[in-house]
Every structure is written in structure tokens, then in C-alpha cells.
Symmetry: C2
Subunit: 105 residues, 2 copies
């Protein structure tokens, strides 16, 4: 699996996570996000850039505005990694149980 963890890094910051969650609810412009959140417009733009590079959102120019949408790609990659970890965790449990059994036998 090729996962560069960009999604995790992107979503670790509270403000950036909030930006993402808002965009995930529905398409929003930069100005709209800047009005809602208690940070400057450049801060929003920077966060969106990080989210864009992590393929968590994508931009769609509309006149002078830039409308941001969710990009399923980034979420999908994260989910794949998470599922693999989940599988490993279950395997680890199985091994522990087996070892415990062997010790008893």
C-alpha cells in the first residue's frame, strides 16, 4: 500500500480539520470559510492548500471565487491505511490468544 500520510498530517490541526469538515458538508468559497472561522483569509487559503495537496479537497474557480469541494481520494487512502491497521490489530489478538492456549496445553 502506498500511503504518504498527508491526510493524517493535514487533519491533525484543529482549524484545518474544521475547514475540511465544513467543506465536507457542502461546497464553500474561501471568503465564506474566512467569515465563519476566527482566522484570516490567508490562513484559510493556506489550510486549503494543504488539504488540496492531501487530495482531501479540490478547488473549482467560479468567477472571482474559488469553490472548494470534498475530494474522496484523500479520505479513501486514509480508510485503506486504517483498515490495514485494523486487520493487523485483529491478527495480533489472534496470535496472543493462540500463544496463551499453547502455554496452557
Amino acid at each position: 500500500m502506498v500511503y504518504d500520510y498527508a491526510g493524517m498530517v493535514a487533519l491533525a490541526d484543529p482549524t484545518r480539520r474544521k475547514v475540511f469538515e465544513l467543506v465536507a458538508e457542502g461546497p464553500r468559497s474561501v471568503a465564506n470559510l474566512a467569515r465563519i472561522l476566527p482566522v484570516s483569509q490567508p490562513a484559510i487559503s493556506h489550510h486549503l492548500k494543504v488539504l488540496r495537496e492531501a487530495r482531501l479537497v479540490r478547488a473549482e474557480p467560479r468567477g472571482a471565487s474559488n469553490i472548494y469541494h470534498v475530494d474522496p481520494h484523500g479520505l479513501g487512502e486514509m480508510r485503506a491505511w486504517l483498515d490495514q491497521m485494523w486487520g493487523n490489530a485483529l491478527d495480533a489478538f489472534r496470535n496472543e490468544i493462540n500463544k496463551a492456549k499453547e502455554r496452557k496445553e
Copy 2:
């Protein structure tokens, strides 16, 4: 949903993520992790503390050693959040498509 995002913050750091991935493969002691990874033992201990507080791992004392195991709890919380975001993303797409249709009608 009550999710404090501790898991995301914990897994955003590369070394800490590596620690977690190693523990996810199977139980390991602090000393063992310190031997494998290119950081000091206190660094490992600190990372494990963060992972512990995020309920991603749990410790089990065994003599002078401390064996760390995966804790499914943290991964489960992350997955729940991820699934909700995934749902929102799909809903957003549906809404966009519907709006596009309405504009055409």
C-alpha cells in the same frame, strides 16, 4: 459523535506512527522499540504515552519490562469519524448532482 481527534494528532508524527505500526504488528517492549527506531528511549516512552492517551495502545507490565499492545478503541473512534465524513462527502455529491439537474429542468 464524541471524538476528540486525539488519534489523528497522535498519528500525524512520523516516528510516533512508526511506533504504532510496529506495536500493531505484535506486542513489543519499550526497549525493543528503542533498539529498532533511531530515537532515544525517553522519546519512545513519550510517544507511547501520547498513543496511550489516544487509546491506540495499552501497556502491560511484565517484570521490569513494559509490553505494549494495540488498543482497538482508538482505531475504532477514528474509523467512525472517517465513515461520517465519507457519508457527508457522498451526500454533498448527491446534492450537487440534484442541483445540476434542477438547473437543467
